[in-house]
């Protein structure tokens, strides 16, 4: 009888040891982990624009007793006159070169499509036009746009040189 009682006591001890160890060690949890992803972006060429040729209404002559106009067609480069303007010589449309990503359309606009030409007399107003406001760059990333406009010459306009400036903007 005495031997049996001792045997039960010894068998119980390992079980208690197991429970105690498990309670202490189990909270030691998993490990830190990390995973990496790639970040990417493709940047295209910035649009560039340069002036190749100024817009010139040339030399106008006439009686200038009536209001007249001188028009340069941006697409064709042709010109026409009305009213008090009798002749127009040496007109030329403006010319701008655009560069950027090949085969991509760009948006072209004026900072202000109406400009004033100043000279010895009252200023004259010109309404500018573009040959193409949304050209597509060619396979080399180039495009050309032309600038024309309608110039209004006042009655009794004082003769002499008149000039003004304008800004062309190109963007994707």
């Amino acid at each position: 009888m005495m031997q049996t009682s001792l045997s039960k006591t010894f068998l119980a001890l390992p079980l208690l040891a197991l429970a105690g160890a498990a309670l202490v060690l189990a909270p030691a949890t998993g490990h830190a982990a990390s995973v990496g992803a790639t970040a990417s972006v493709t940047i295209q060429k910035v649009v560039g624009i340069t002036k190749a040729k100024d817009l010139a209404f040339g030399t106008l002559s006439g009686t200038f007793t009536d209001i007249g106009t001188a028009n340069i067609n941006a697409v064709s480069g042709g010109f026409s006159i009305t009213g008090g303007v009798a002749t127009m010589t040496g007109p030329a449309r403006g010319e701008f070169d655009i560069t950027g990503e090949p085969n991509v359309a760009v948006s072209v606009s004026f900072q202000d499509p109406t400009i004033k030409l100043s000279g010895p007399g009252s200023f004259m107003e010109a309404d500018l036009t573009l040959s193409n406001a949304s050209p597509t760059l060619d396979g080399s990333g180039d495009a050309k746009v032309y600038v024309g406009g309608l110039l209004t010459i006042g009655a009794s306009q004082v003769s002499g040189p008149y000039s003004g400036s304008f800004t062309v903007i190109a963007n994707y």
């Binding site: 830190a32 992803a37 970040a39 972006v41 910035v46 560039g48």
Partner: protein, 177 residues
């Protein structure tokens, strides 16, 4: 009088000590991609010659919006999908897992760089015991076999006249434990 069985009881005790540490390798947390969507991509952009701008990749809509002098031309736009999960072993008490990632990403074409900052987060799916608030360094409470899926996006800043090219960088998501 010595008991004849005492040496055998001693051996059994040692065996228990060897087996117990095996229980500690539980509750493993994984950071992984549940799908192949593992790239944070802004697609194709272009910058203005004179004006800086940004491209904002939304992790919820997976689309890009632009501001300032930055223009988007589509391309492949993606916000990577991450999964943080806990395996099915160990106890089932909620385990608080801290999830963190880069505070910013620098992408480079080898010559110029651009920065993605901040990085934004959107939870896509989760069965977590305690929700993930989708912030860098935030925590999620996971029981066995629970997970949280989330996407990351961000704001890419481009300088005026940013050089053309393919820019890449690395985004790392880390969990602890």
């Amino acid at each position: 009088m010595d008991h004849p069985y005492r040496p055998l009881r001693g051996l059994a005790f040692l065996a228990f000590l060897v087996l117990v540490p095996g229980l500690a390798n539980a509750q493993t947390v994984f950071a992984s991609f549940p799908t192949s969507e593992s790239t944070l991509s802004f697609g194709i952009l272009a910058g203005d010659a004179d004006l800086a701008g940004t491209a904002i990749l939304s992790p919820s809509t997976q689309s890009v919006t632009v501001t300032g002098g930055t223009f988007s031309f589509g391309g492949t736009v993606s916000a990577p999908l991450f999964r943080v999960s806990r395996d099915g072993s160990g106890g089932n008490n909620p385990l608080s897992v801290t999830i963190s990632w880069n505070s910013s990403i620098i992408v480079s074409n080898g010559a110029q760089t651009a920065t993605v900052n901040p990085i934004t987060c959107h939870v896509v799916a989760s069965n977590a015991n305690d929700a993930f608030n989708c912030t860098n360094g935030g925590t999620v409470g996971l029981r066995r076999d629970q997970f949280v899926d989330f996407r990351l996006g961000g704001t890419l800043s481009l300088a005026a006249n940013q050089a053309a090219g393919a820019y890449t960088g690395t985004l790392t998501v880390t969990t602890n434990p």
